[in-house]
């Protein structure tokens, strides 16, 4: 079931993918492409040099000041404030000339004991010893997060506006219907790992930061380009940082947030700024969250080889232990019945099916399948191109499924050291009704020397699917996939798409199917 071998080969150097039309991916040369890109209002380019970066490191100012002899009490108070209990113990142990011997010895012993215990804990969950920046980079859905110019991207679920979080910790909001581009900055807005707009709301944007969660309220009619930090709600909970993932409920009422340092997942009622921690033993933290589009389930992966699927009516969960590594990424089918996920260290995509008992009957957990099925194998495949051999495949960084359930984008990590193993986006055609099917579509490539870092589908593109990709160069491009949606109609009313659209060739589907449920 090796899947990539059936794909059309990658484009030769200098060609970039433009769109899908007539059931095939069209490409263009770079110059042609650039002209096209620059004419489109939503394609953006953030050169790295244009960002004012600040080198803020924590407690860096301490070393710049001379040592000042304070009384033991003052130093202890300062140590308690800065370093907590361990800081206090450290201070007492170090100032052994001023304190009674028994005190310094006992605090030294306590400190040693604490360190031994925390190292033991750290050996169980190695991620606990990382710095918070490293942790964000490790667990982010963005490829090579710490080096990214665009660190997070979010389309608004109902309108054509989006938010972009940049390397300099600012967030910009682009709206084609508005001339102003508000820039959001906040004292606490550091190391943004994820942004997401609140559904059924025009204003609220949730931002996952290093130490807290911010919810901005940006009035779309306002002409202000720099909303004040008073427009942001700060949500924080002791021990719940750094936050690597957030997810709004599709009904817009709740927000969940996850931190690898906290075994509890927080469920926030944003308006009243109250959070309920949902604690479960095992896993050592929560890294990635994804709320199913129908609102019934939440995927929560942990840093260990274990992930959970919560049902959102009574907030109970199913445990899914993995064999090899942690769950790296996941995405839901539009009706919320199927979950695709990938595991770190493996090159396959798994699927889980949830056949819900009618909601309303209060069942403990939804009855799911007993084991996940492998639906695609993306192990390394060599393609012969005019420019030489290119190896595509390997580990998967993230998954994205378009809202009609017909295109699945897979961001492959590649190998940054080897030139012939680029990071690349592989796109599959999918079908969820009447049976689940996976077919090859093609690779999405950008300008030479750039690699895709982050991708997201537009939530309500009228003429098929629209994939937005953020590249390592700082460019954001949008790739339309024109097709006639055959699946479930859009929620709400979109009417029939008006663009002249190419006819699909159903013969292709029959010939090249990679996975159908009939096989498994």
């Amino acid at each position: 079931m090796c899947s990539l071998a059936l794909f059309p080969p990658p484009l030769p150097s200098g060609q970039t993918t433009l769109c899908e039309s007539n059931n095939e991916l069209l490409s263009g040369t770079t110059t042609e492409d650039r002209l096209k890109l620059e004419s489109s209002p939503l394609s953006l380019f953030f050169p790295r040099e244009s960002l004012k970066l600040h080198c803020r490191t924590e407690s860096s100012s301490k070393a710049a000041f001379l040592d000042h002899s304070e009384t033991l009490w003052m130093r202890s108070a300062a140590a308690w404030r800065d370093g907590g209990f361990t800081g206090l113990l450290d201070e007492i142990t170090n100032s052994n000339t001023e304190v009674p011997k028994w005190l310094s010895v006992s605090s030294g012993c306590t400190l040693a004991l604490l360190r031994w215990f925390s190292s033991f804990h750290g050996s169980l969950f190695p991620h606990l010893t990382m710095s918070s920046e490293d942790m964000l980079a490790e667990f982010s859905q963005v490829l090579n997060w710490s080096d990214c110019v665009v660190r997070a991207f979010a389309w608004h679920p109902h309108t054509d506006k989006f938010a972009v979080a940049l390397l300099d910790d600012s967030i910009k909001i682009y709206n084609p219907k508005s001339a102003t581009t508000p820039t959001l900055k906040h004292r606490l807005q550091r190391s943004v790992a994820a942004v997401q707009w609140k559904p059924l709301c025009a204003t609220a944007l949730a931002v996952a930061c290093q130490n807290c969660l911010l919810v901005w309220h940006v009035d779309p009619c306002s002409l202000s380009t720099r909303p004040s930090s008073g427009c942001a709600q700060v949500l924080s909970h002791p021990g719940h940082s750094p936050i690597t993932s957030i997810a709004w409920s599709p009904s817009g009422s709740l927000l969940v947030s996850a931190s690898p340092m906290d075994t509890a997942m927080m469920v926030w009622d944003v308006a009243s700024e109250s959070g309920v921690p949902l604690q479960r033993v095992g896993g050592g933290g929560v890294t990635f969250l994804s709320w199913s589009p129908d609102g019934s389930h939440v995927l929560a992966s942990t840093p260990s080889a274990l992930f959970r699927v919560w049902e959102t009516r009574m907030w109970t969960c199913e445990r899914w232990p993995c064999v090899k590594g942690r769950c790296q990424s996941g995405c839901w089918s539009p009706d919320g019945s199927r979950l695709l996920f990938t595991v770190q260290g493996e090159t396959v995509i798994y699927a889980l099916t949830f056949t819900d008992t009618p909601a309303g009957v209060p069942t403990c957990t939804s009855k799911g399948s007993q084991a996940a099925a492998v639906v695609a194998d993306l192990s390394e495949t060599t393609f012969n191109t005019p420019d030489g051999d290119i190896i595509v495949g390997g580990e998967i960084q993230s998954l994205a499924w378009d809202p009609t359930g017909e295109r699945l984008a897979v961001l492959l990590k590649g190998d940054p050291q080897a030139a012939d193993r680029p990071a690349i986006i592989a796109v599959f055609k999918t079908r969820t009704n009447p049976i689940f099917e996976l077919l090859p579509c093609g690779f999405v490539q950008g300008e030479p020397g750039t690699e895709p870092r982050l991708m997201q589908f537009h939530p309500n593109f009228q003429h098929g699917a629209l994939l937005t990709v953020c590249w390592s160069s700082g460019r954001i491009t949008h790739m339309p996939f024109y097709f006639l949606s055959a699946g479930v109609p859009h929620f709400g009313l979109s009417g029939s798409p008006s663009l002249p659209r190419p006819q699909e060739r159903p013969a292709d589907f029959a010939k090249q199917s990679l996975f159908t449920e009939l096989m498994s």
Binding site: S253, L254, A271, E273, V276, A359
Partner: protein, 571 residues
């Protein structure tokens, strides 16, 4: 009261309370055992202490005191049932709070807690043993004859129990501890209980610490007992570490058992109850959702019914179909009519309330600003920094209508001083005069809280209506919802307008300070924000579902304009 009523829906509440009390009593043995171990344990003789604990636990006095403790827990449970409320009483001024504290009903409550505190403290004294065990000690008088003297260690523990019980009851009023709030996140009872347990333990320990501190101060000044053999009202007598430890442990034990009973009560009472939407038997009709919704009393049932409505509209297609169904025979959508009518009347009621409040504030402010213009000028001379901190809009909108002392003359007098109402408490006034009006001045924030005190009901009504309308798009076969769509939309848009206007009042949108470590529930302080967010989401839920079809719905031009904002995602 509850036993008298035969309605079985009402009995549900009673039996839930009984179940919560039963659990509290069942949890009492392990808690008491832990308390015995903690209070008697000594580092130097661990084995001896454990064996002493075991022998004590099997003694007759231990069993007797345990029975007493069970009685106290049952009593506390029934007091919870008697005094709980789902709509918090918000005191808008200090005088109103004082009125609440001095209310005869509250007095009975305090007295009850005092007595129960003494009983628990007596049990603690028996448990801790040693010097605390008896009230009278044999002591030698001057002439050598043995005589019984007062054992002050025993007494101090008993009085501590009374004090902690009393302060618990007072704090209950101040922090609205009898207010039962409903959670947005539904969880099973056991998980909710487990999740809150550590918080309860922390709260009890800290509150016990503060209570003991206050008690020691009071005792130092008032505790003069001429009969005592070891007088304790000296600094040295009170700074006995072991005494302080035992006082704190006993107070923590007392508060923990009571708070646990309260927690269990809250968890059990607020559990979702599924009402049948319709019944085929007429004698059961009074238990059905539409009937319970329209009933006024008791409030908790109405709340549970609204919660059930919000959940069924969101999660349960089969029950929704019952709501949309037609009566047989007759073909009338009685269920939908009753539910939508009740929800709309709730929302209209809130809209009216907000408009009336806004009007009084506006007219009052205008009159006042005219009459007090000159006085403000004079007072501004004396306290310049003070006036500078106040925006010119603030003063006209400061309402003190409800205060019992608001005669026109007095109002004119206090108007410039309203600026030192609690919202300006951070500015320290040099004049003692300025502190006086604090007693009866009301703050807009608290008035706003009081206006939205029962808004949990409105939130569920909005959610229920909007989800039902949303699912009617595909599920409503007979079009019963369509007929009500214009009135639902205009009701929501009218409320939206009133809420928007209300939030433009000064301080209505300022966030309250949260108190994290207290058993009191501060949910009611943020209900107005939750309502505003739910209202917007609900309107968006309808507009995204129906889209441009809404242009065919009849409504006033003003509402159409507002709706257009929503259709364009500009609200």
């Amino acid at each position: 009261m509850y036993l008298m009523m035969t309605d079985c829906s009402v009995q549900v509440i009673f039996w839930r309370a009984v179940a919560s009390i039963a659990w509290a009593v069942l949890l009492l043995p392990p808690i008491t055992a832990v308390f015995v171990i903690i209070s008697r344990f000594s580092l130097l003789h661990p084995i001896q202490a454990v064996s002493e604990c075991l022998s004590f636990l099997t003694s007759a006095s231990a069993i007797f005191s345990f029975i007493l403790l069970c009685g106290v827990i049952i009593m506390v449970g029934f007091l919870n049932l008697e005094y709980y409320t789902v709509i918090p009483t918000i005191a808008c001024s200090k005088i109103a709070l004082l009125g609440q504290l001095l209310h005869p009903r509250q007095f009975v409550n305090s007295l009850g807690h005092c007595i129960m505190g003494i009983i628990v403290a007596w049990c603690c004294a028996i448990t801790v043993g040693g010097r605390y065990e008896t009230i009278a000690d044999p002591c030698a008088q001057g002439d050598g004859s043995p005589q019984m003297c007062l054992n002050e260690y025993h007494l101090i523990l008993l009085l501590a129990g009374a004090f902690v019980g009393f302060s618990h009851s007072l704090l209950g009023v101040i922090y609205n501890m009898n207010y039962v709030s409903f959670h947005t996140v539904q969880q099973y009872k056991y998980l909710r209980f487990k999740g809150s347990l550590s918080l309860v333990l922390k709260c009890s320990a800290t509150q016990a610490l503060y209570s003991v501190r206050n008690y020691i101060v009071v005792y130092f000044f008032l505790g003069k007992w001429s009969l005592s053999v070891h007088p304790l009202d000296s600094i040295a007598g009170l700074l006995d570490l072991s005494l302080l430890y035992h006082l704190w442990i006993s107070a923590s034990f007392l508060l923990f058992t009571w708070h646990l009973t309260l927690l269990l009560f809250r968890v059990f009472v607020t559990e979702v109850y599924s009402f049948p939407v319709q019944s085929s038997f007429t004698e059961d009709a009074h238990q059905c959702l539409p009937t319970v919704l329209t009933d006024k009393q008791p409030m908790i049932l109405k709340f549970l019914a609204l919660l059930d409505l919000a959940l069924l509209s969101q999660h349960s297609p089969s029950r929704r179909s019952e709501v949309f169904s037609l009566s047989q025979p007759g073909g009338h959508p009685h269920n939908w009519n009753a539910i939508s009518k009740e929800c709309l009347s709730l929302l209209a009621d809130l809209t009216q309330r907000l408009i009336a409040y806004h009007d009084t504030v506006a007219t009052n402010g205008r009159a006042k600003s005219l009459s007090t213009g000159s006085e403000r000028k004079t007072s501004s001379e004396s306290s310049v920094p003070f006036i500078l901190s106040v925006s010119p809009l603030t003063a006209p909108f400061t309402p003190d209508l409800d205060s019992p002392f608001a005669s026109p003359a007095l109002r004119r007098l206090t108007a410039p001083m309203d600026q030192c109402s609690p919202w300006f408490g951070t500015v320290q006034s040099p004049h003692i005069m300025r502190r006086v009006p604090k007693l009866w001045s009301t703050s807009t924030g608290e008035k706003s809280q009081a206006l939205f005190a029962d808004s949990q009901a409105h939130i569920w009504a909005l959610e229920g209506l909007s989800y039902l309308v949303q699912s009617s798009f595909s599920e409503d076969q007979f079009g019963v919802v369509q007929t009500a769509l214009p009135s639902i939309l205009s009701c929501m848009l009218g409320l939206q307008e009133a809420v928007d206007r209300h939030f433009k009042l000064p301080h209505a949108s300022s966030k309250p300070v949260r108190s994290a470590s207290s058993m009191g529930d501060s949910t009611h302080k943020t209900l107005r924000f939750a309502l505003r967010a739910t209202l917007k989401t609900s309107i968006y839920r309808i507009t995204t579902t129906f889209g441009n079809h809404l242009n065919a719905v009849k409504m006033s031009a003003e509402h159409r304009k507002r709706l257009q904002q929503f259709l364009e995602y500009k609200e």
